[in-house]
């Protein structure tokens, strides 16, 4: 109910200050708090026991969405509510991000939770990691070294390493996620199913397609949340979607159905194993159609 004792809490106002605090991570249990919507649950359940907490909420330079050279740059501390409302992410190749952000939890959660927090937490049944996988997010991680602040970029595929695990080193700070522009004909979408509106997804699927002028898919990235092994790409689906268009709803469902048959799912009170496989087919089909529609408008 209450957190285990915390030694200190800091609210840095510069990136350098934050990184200096994170550099202590080899000596103490240091955790960053972004929105806190996932972390505080774990802290209050005493599943994690940070000794030092670094509050990232005063790093205003980490908030915001803008168009950059490499694509759309999303600050790591951008809240779900702002992503949901962001015109740059609406109805286009990046819409999986705003689709996902618009329905995470409830409005209080969306007011506070951040994309960076979600990606760094990488919960098994979370929406943003799947959406980020579909749009091939490129993550910039900062750290302190002898010469000052250094940075590295890592693709989302390599960043998400397993349930509740990422490639972020404890002393690193996620600065931004760049969503590369796939060029003309790109469209993405995300959809989930849970037993009730505010619940965590039982199955969530994100799809980004790039279509040719005839509307046929020539490239796809598909990601799923809710599998036992954590959020991941569905490579067989990505291959199976090539050549399909909006007119091929049945075939699209078939591709997802085949993937669902192989997927490692675990039943629980909300959905049996077989039902999860059904959801993979149904949601996958719907979300792909939406992505294709958006892609078709993007020529």
């Amino acid at each position: 109910m209450y957190p285990a004792p915390i030694e200190s809490l800091h609210g840095p106002t510069t990136i350098e200050e934050a990184l200096r605090l994170l550099a202590e991570a080899d000596k103490r249990e240091v955790m960053c708090i972004a929105g806190g919507m996932s972390l505080m649950q774990a802290v209050k359940a005493r599943v994690v026991r940070p000794e030092v907490v670094v509050d990232l909420n005063r790093l205003d330079m980490l908030r915001g969405v803008e168009r950059g050279a490499g694509g759309i740059e999303v600050g790591s501390m951008t809240c779900y509510v702002d992503l949901a409302r962001e015109p740059l992410l609406r109805d286009n190749a990046f819409a999986a991000i705003s689709d996902a952000a618009a329905r995470v939890g409830d409005r209080q959660v969306r007011n506070r939770g951040t994309i960076g927090g979600s990606l760094c937490w990488n919960y098994v049944a979370a929406c943003l990691p799947a959406a980020a996988l579909a749009v091939d997010g490129q993550l910039e991680l900062l750290s302190l070294d002898g010469d000052g602040i250094s940075s590295r970029t890592i693709g989302i595929d390599d960043f998400l390493t397993g349930p509740l695990e990422t490639a972020r080193e404890p002393h690193e700070l996620l600065r931004s996620i760049t969503l590369p522009d796939p060029g003309p004909g790109g469209g993405s979408a995300y959809k989930k199913w849970g037993p009730v509106t505010a619940s965590l997804p039982v199955v969530g699927i994100a799809v980004r397609v790039i279509v040719d002028r005839a509307g046929a898919c020539r490239e796809a990235r598909v990601a799923i949340a809710g599998l036992v092994e954590g959020t991941q790409r569905l490579v067989s689906v990505e291959e199976g979607l090539i050549g399909l268009s909006i007119a091929d709803a049945g075939a699209i469902e078939g591709v997802f159905e085949a993937a669902g048959a192989e997927a490692e799912v675990q039943g629980d009170q909300w959905a049996t194993e077989d039902y999860r496989r059904l959801l993979i087919r149904e949601i996958g089909g719907e979300v792909t159609m939406t992505a294709l529609k958006r892609a078709g408008k993007a020529h």
């Binding site: 004792p5 009170q269 959905a271 039902y275 149904e282």
Partner: protein
């Protein structure tokens, strides 16, 4: 609406029957509620429980040394520390007059733990955070025993007996139609078997309702302090402070004059869960007495989900014999309930199933029945009272049964209900339940008219052609409206009367004192309406105070819809007796030739109806009687205070009918409720706004139970639903709007003609919902007899992974 129904008997009133906004709401919407956790007790020690991590185990050892040495810790107690210092339950005061068993238990586990969550040790510290830190340091070593996780496991030959003071795991078993003797039960069984054998139509079905209940948003709390002179003072989130006081005095060996129990002015819901006499209710006061310091316990949600809120959980087997037309000739019912450990004062887990079995026939005329209930102890927390006390599972089974009978005989479910509903009152059911009054068929037909089944069937047929499946379902349910002493003394060893003290002060302001403790049930407003109406004064000049045993008359508790039937009647009667006293003195003073009935009380004045100018201020008259008691009429005393104990001449029941329209999507088994309508006959409705809220809330609770909420245990007895993420209570986007309509028959047993309403509202809900879903899916020929109702289950029934079966071209039998 038929003639005479518009005002539902309140046409002559100015406040009663009106949608009066509540006075509680001003403070509650502005953050000035006084809930248990808001009470300031700066010196109190904070209590955290250590609870069993095992479902069934011997306690090998408990090491509290590290906890005792932790910062801020004042004391740590285990079961061994208290077992010779607190007498265990059962105590007569919290034992019903029923042929069940009452397992011996202390407030902390002694020797063994019997469910995941049973309290094993208690830590007291100066700060809540520190108490939790210390509780983590208590080390318990267990030696596991086999987990008994269901009635089937509990009754199996060779099953581990959970309570060593019992011979087996059967905690209650009784026939409700056998007249109370073994011979009677045997004869009853034989008679019904013969009827069933001879019946032209037999419908034999099994139903299952899961473990769920109505847990309130505010968890429990208890605080106590002790001093030599005043004795024990307790704040408890309780629905029944007076019962708690008696029980505490008895268990702790105190004189009742040394025990005061108070329920906080505001409580965040109870729905029955704050009615039992729990382990914690005993231990916290004892700790205060022992440590001679104030102590305070605030239950966490996790504890709450592990220990209270679990009800329903029944398997019901019904064999019904009917005529070819669907008229019920006889019925055999076998109910098995998963009792949990049963260690719970007052209810012991089985009192709820008992009431459900006793009212099993609901509003149907079933003269011949053989109804038996058996409850089994398992390694789970005891069943605890939940709104629709005992009747949720039985109503589901009966309402599904009516639709299944209809399908079998080829008639509409509407006709089957009309055919079998009780039509002539009073009526005594096969179990001896006395249905006092009402017009069930009228109420049902009013609802049917609202739903317009004919138009629905046309729309349903059209949509089926488009491959869409909508369904219409109905259900009905009776529920106790207050509990007569005749029943209550037997059921819970407590009186059923409603009681209230009304005091008028020398400035004409009125105080209503109620011993029961409301938890959102609007007593402040409804009682103020009644008092203001009777005495002709302002609604705001009435103050209602509740739940303090020191200054309120004895009352058995806020339960069973007593507020709107019994307690409000006591308020009414007390006010009327004061009104008549004031009238008599007024007549005497003014030397008027009139009877007390001819004196009006209106707008703060008192005057003869035939001479309105000959008036006196209400406050002035009150002052005269209290402060200037000179020359009073012969035989009259000074003062204006009256206490009334209201007992209805017979037990009373109220009746409701529910209907639901759903659309089901066979491809995924998902469904959406398009419309939900109820029709309630609550007699005179004192405040329609409040009644509407009660019904809407009860329906959503019923839907939430049916669709989302379920307490689950794994095969080692570990509780898997200890957060609101796992145990999901319904929220607004997933719930329909509920339309509340009324059908009116006056209740002859209460002075205002009002019936209590609220308790039974969730009962008919799962029947209406599942009947609607089955109606939608009737072309697929499936039958749903089990709860919860979930999309994956529906999908599997339709064929699931093997492919959804094709709908057949069968038509519905109209209606």
């Amino acid at each position: 609406m038929s003639h005479g129904d518009d005002d539902h008997g309140t046409g002559n009133f100015s406040l009663v029957g009106k949608r009066v906004p509540r006075k509680e709401d001003i403070r509650l919407t502005q953050g000035r509620g006084q809930y248990f956790a808001d009470l300031k007790m700066p010196d109190a020690l904070h209590i955290v429980f250590v609870r069993s991590s095992r479902a069934h185990a011997e306690i090998v050892s408990i090491d509290t040394e590290a906890a005792k040495a932790a910062p801020g810790v004042v004391a740590v107690f285990t079961g061994d520390d208290i077992k010779d210092r607190i007498t265990p339950l059962p105590h007569p005061i919290v034992v019903p007059n029923l042929p069940g068993k009452f397992p011996k238990h202390w407030p902390l586990a002694v020797g063994r733990v019997k469910f995941n969550g049973e309290p094993v040790a208690v830590v007291l510290a100066t700060d809540r955070y520190l108490a939790e830190d210390a509780a983590e340091l208590v080390e318990v070593e267990y030696s596991d025993l086999p987990y008994v996780g269901s009635p089937e496991a509990a009754m199996a030959p060779g099953a581990p007996v959970i309570h060593q003071d019992l011979d087996n795991n059967e905690i209650f078993s009784m026939s409700f139609t056998g007249g109370g003797t073994a011979e009677g039960a045997a004869a009853n069984e034989a008679e019904i078997s013969a009827i069933l054998e001879g019946a032209p139509v037999i419908v034999d079905e099994k139903f299952q309702v899961h473990r769920t209940g109505i847990t309130p948003l505010e968890t429990r709390g208890a605080a106590a302090w002790w001093n030599e002179d005043d004795g024990l003072t307790c704040w408890i989130t309780t629905q029944r402070p007076h019962i708690d006081r008696l029980a505490l005095a008895e268990v702790l060996g105190l004189s009742t004059s040394m025990v005061r129990v108070m329920a906080p002015r505001d409580q965040g819901g109870g729905f029955g869960n704050k009615a039992p006499f729990y382990r914690e209710s005993i231990l916290i006061p004892w700790l205060a007495m022992t440590l001679k310091r104030p102590v305070r316990w605030l239950e966490s949600r996790e504890e709450s989900l592990m220990v209270i809120g679990q009800e329903r959980d029944q398997r019901i087997h019904i064999t019904m014999g009917t005529t070819e037309e669907g008229r019920i000739l006889g019925m055999r019912v076998r109910i098995v309930a998963d009792n949990g450990d049963g260690c719970q004062g007052v209810y012991w887990g089985f009192v709820m199933p008992v009431l459900g079995a006793a009212t099993f026939c609901s509003g149907y005329d079933i003269a011949k029945a053989d109804i038996r209930l058996a409850c089994y102890v398992t390694n789970k927390p005891s069943l605890a009272p939940s709104r629709s006390f005992g009747s949720y599972s039985p109503r589901f089974a009966m309402e599904r049964m009516m639709d299944l009978v209809a399908a079998r005989v080829g008639r509409s479910p509407l006709d089957i209900r009309r055919l079998n509903l009780v039509k002539s009152f009073p009526y005594t059911t096969a179990t001896g339940s006395y249905l006092d009054s009402g017009d069930y068929v009228k109420c049902f037909n009013t609802l049917v008219d609202t739903m317009d089944p004919k138009a629905f069937r046309e729309r349903q047929a059209e949509l089926r052609k488009q491959g869409r499946f909508i369904g219409l379902g109905f259900s009905t349910g009776t529920e106790i409206s207050g509990i007569a002493s005749k029943v209550f003394v037997q059921l819970e060893n407590q009186p059923g009367y409603g009681s209230a003290t009304v005091r008028i002060d020398a400035r004409g302001r009125v105080q209503v004192l109620e011993g029961d403790a409301p938890q959102g049930t609007s007593h402040e407003t409804t009682f103020s309406q009644v008092a203001a109406e009777v005495l002709g004064i302002q609604f705001d000049d009435v103050v209602v105070q509740t739940g303090d045993t020191q200054n309120t008359p004895f009352a058995s508790g806020s339960l069973g819809a007593r507020g709107g039937s019994y307690t409000v009647s006591a308020v009414y009667n007390a006010c009327r007796s004061l009104r008549f006293k004031m009238a008599r003195i007024f007549i005497h003073d003014r030397r008027i030739n009139a009877r007390p009935e001819d004196i009006e009380f209106e707008g703060g004045f008192v005057f003869p109806s035939l001479d309105r100018e000959n008036k006196m201020g209400f406050a002035e008259l009150a002052d005269r009687i209290i402060m200037k008691p000179i020359d009073l009429p012969e035989g009259e005393q000074a003062g204006l205070e009256a206490t009334d104990y209201f007992e209805a001449p017979t037990s009373m029941f109220y009746f409701g009918a529910h209907s639901c329209i759903v659309e089901v999507f066979p491809k995924t088994g998902q469904f959406k409720i398009q419309r939900y309508v109820t029709c309630e006959d609550a007699g005179t409705v004192i405040n329609p706004l409040i009644v509407e809220g009660q019904v809407q809330g009860g329906v959503i609770q019923g839907l939430s139970n049916a669709m989302f909420e379920q307490y689950l245990y794994d095969d080692q007895g570990q509780q898997m639903t200890t957060t609101l993420e796992g145990y999901r209570m319904a929220q607004a986007p997933d719930m329909p709007h509920v339309e509340v309509t009324h059908s009116y028959t006056p209740c002859p047993g209460t002075p205002l003609g009002s019936r209590g309403l609220g308790e039974g509202v969730p009962g008919p809900v799962p029947g209406a919902l599942v009947n609607a879903v089955c109606d939608a899916l009737s072309p697929f020929g499936i039958k749903i007899n089990d709860l919860p109702l979930r999309p994956d289950r529906i999908w599997h029934m339709l064929g699931g992974p093997d492919g959804i079966r094709e709908p057949e071209g069968r038509g519905m039998a109209g209606g």
